[in-house]
Amino acid sequence: MTETCPPRRRWRLPQGAAPAIALVPAALITLVCFYLFIGWTFAISLTDSRLLPNWEFIGLEQYRRLFASSRWWTALENLGLYAVLFIGGCTLLGYLLAILIDRGVRAEGVYRTIFMLPLSMSFVVTGIIWQWMLNPGLGIQQAVRGLGFEEFAFNWLVRADRAIFTVALAGIWQQVGLCMALFLAGLRGIDPNIWKAARVDGIPTWRVYLDIVTPMLKATFFTSTILLFSLAVKSFDLVVALTGGGPGFSSDLPARFVMEHILTRQELGLGAAGAFVMLCTIAAVVAPYLYLQNRRGAA
């Protein structure tokens, strides 16, 4: 072991060039497909475009019309309510299921697979199934009444003040498995010594979850919230399939409002204004996440 191998000089890129080159496609897509498109949407929202884009600028007129529309406000309120219910429900149930599974059950794989099964369904299919289940004349209400409980009422699907809750219910059903998987993964990552220490200290199990484990899973809560939020914002096919935005437009969501105005109402300008407001709202909610992402990365 005395001779040395003379290193051969190879042609290569300067330091840092390779990652930069690898990022070119992503950078182009981000620039063009995300930001240029958002810019385009904004530009269109300043025009009186009907069915097709045109460039006759009319200032903020579309925004005035947008915010004068009670339907738009309903849609915005619904998004808030839906997001809270959907994210809260998924998180709570998903966490609970993950805890139950993590208690060391046999046939864990079976339960896990069952809980994740709805994830494989599209939102459209989810909407159709739940429309059946929740229809007062066909589904659960009818079935329970058939058992002799004549007074039983579960008619949220057709109640203007409750329809959005059914949308959240179907959404939770579909996505709870993702939350469960996220939390299960988080729980698996917790140092078993924590549990030993808590046992030695005689802390009841539920307290350990509440006071020790939950704070440790902060990152998981964070990630799942962001993922669910992105789904909530985008999940308008579910509303279309489940309630069609009804009764009336009581369960409308901004994405559906936008789509309907662009596609069927010849209101591209108004729809674009709605889309832009929607994206701004999202950006306001997400910006703190981006900030934290970056800061954490820098630490």
């Binding site: 001779e3 040395t4 003379p6 290193p7």
Partner: protein, 361 residues
């Protein structure tokens, strides 16, 4: 066998300077240890030598070759990481051979060299396992094997033993020393463990705050630390320090500390210093001895606490208003609070300037 020369190598991240103008000559075949506390810049320096980080200024020469701008794999080096950094998805065989494969060596040669190294490190039976199936010590051997197989002209080791338990660490130390003795490759070794530094190094570079504090043979660093930092960092238990003023006491010097006078037999009365000058006296625990009552050149101490370690007995004394440690032969009977006359070996004492901690004698 490669000479490594650092010329005024600097490193800063924005306004933070990590390394200030480091210049160093490493002789061919030398085993140079970079020693220092965490954050002193030693790992950064090693990374710069490896080419994993760019220096902000200065030059780096391997022999006559300026390698300052070369990527790591063109520098003809190999590196062992503290975490071993074994590729988790590759078998031991592939881990060791990966560098050669990347270099484009033919598969047969790779295989042969891997076997050779595995035999040398006695890990031949582990070649088809994955890192996760190995013990800590075995992983360490694989990491070293991965470096050896490349037959580099310069060997870089970044705290390679700190993840091992005490017994294994001692074994591996011997092993490393043997390997170096056989291969005589220029080696740069980063550690914060002064025992490793003392046992392995041909020369030690003590780093602190991005500066070289001292660069010398281990025994010199130990016996004649260049400043108070080196003195306190090297040696365990650490060196005793007593502040005071220099005085002459007959044929030898003494230290006036508080209301006590500490005679330093063996140290010239004024070793190039003025009497009355404020100094910090440093002496190692083994340079304190008990004396019998009435002997001259002693200072009275009071026993505070005893710590028998087996081969030695460490005793804490109150002395001239300060606390010092003495290393005494085991079995010395010293009840607590007993007053004992102590003799310091002035010949082995170090004197430091209080203002900047530089050695004076």
């Amino acid at each position: 066998m490669q000479r490594v020369r650092l010329e005024a190598v600097r490193k800063s991240y924005g306004p933070t300077t990590v390394l200030e103008e480091i210049s160093l000559d490493i002789e061919p075949g030398e085993f140079l240890v970079l020693l220092g506390p965490s954050g002193c810049g030693k790992s950064t320096l090693l990374n710069i030598v490896a080419g994993l980080e760019d220096a902000s200024g200065g030059r780096l020469l391997f022999g006559d070759r300026d390698v300052t701008r070369l990527p790591p794999d063109e520098r003809d080096i190999a590196m062992v990481f503290q975490s071993y950094a074994l590729y988790p998805t590759m078998t031991v065989r592939k881990n060791i051979g990966f560098g050669l494969k990347m270099r484009g060596e033919p598969a047969a040669l790779v295989e042969e060299r891997v076997r050779e190294v595995a035999a040398l490190l006695q890990i031949g039976h582990l070649l088809d396992r994955r890192p996760s199936q190995l013990s800590g010590g075995q992983q360490q051997r694989v990491a070293i094997g991965r470096a050896l197989v490349r037959r580099p002209s310069v060997f870089l080791l970044d705290e390679p033993l700190s993840n091992l338990d005490a017994k294994l660490r001692a074994d591996m130390r011997v092993e490393l020393k043997r390997l170096h003795a056989e291969s005589r490759r220029t080696t740069l070794y980063v550690t914060h463990d002064q025992v490793e530094a003392m046992t392995l190094a041909t020369r030690i570079v003590v780093l602190e705050k991005g500066r070289i504090q001292q660069c010398d043979r281990p025994e010199v660093v130990y016996a004649r630390p260049a400043n108070r930092f080196v003195a306190s960092f090297v040696g365990a238990p650490t060196m005793n320090f007593v502040e005071g003023r220099l005085e002459a006491a007959g044929d030898h010097a003494a230290l006036r500390a508080g209301d006590g006078l500490i005679p330093l037999p063996g140290l010239a009365p004024a070793p190039g210093l003025k009497v009355g000058e404020p100094i910090v006296l440093g002496f190692r625990p083994e340079h304190v001895a008990t004396a019998s009552a009435g002997e001259t050149g002693t200072v009275p101490g009071r026993v505070l606490m005893s710590e028998p370690t087996g081969p030695d007995l460490y005793v804490l004394f109150g002395l001239a208003g300060q606390t010092i440690t003495a290393r005494l032969p085991p079995g010395t009977d010293l009840p607590p609070q007993a007053a004992v006359p102590l003799r310091l070996d002035g010949a082995a004492a170090s004197l430091f300037r209080p203002a900047d901690g530089q050695r004076l004698n």
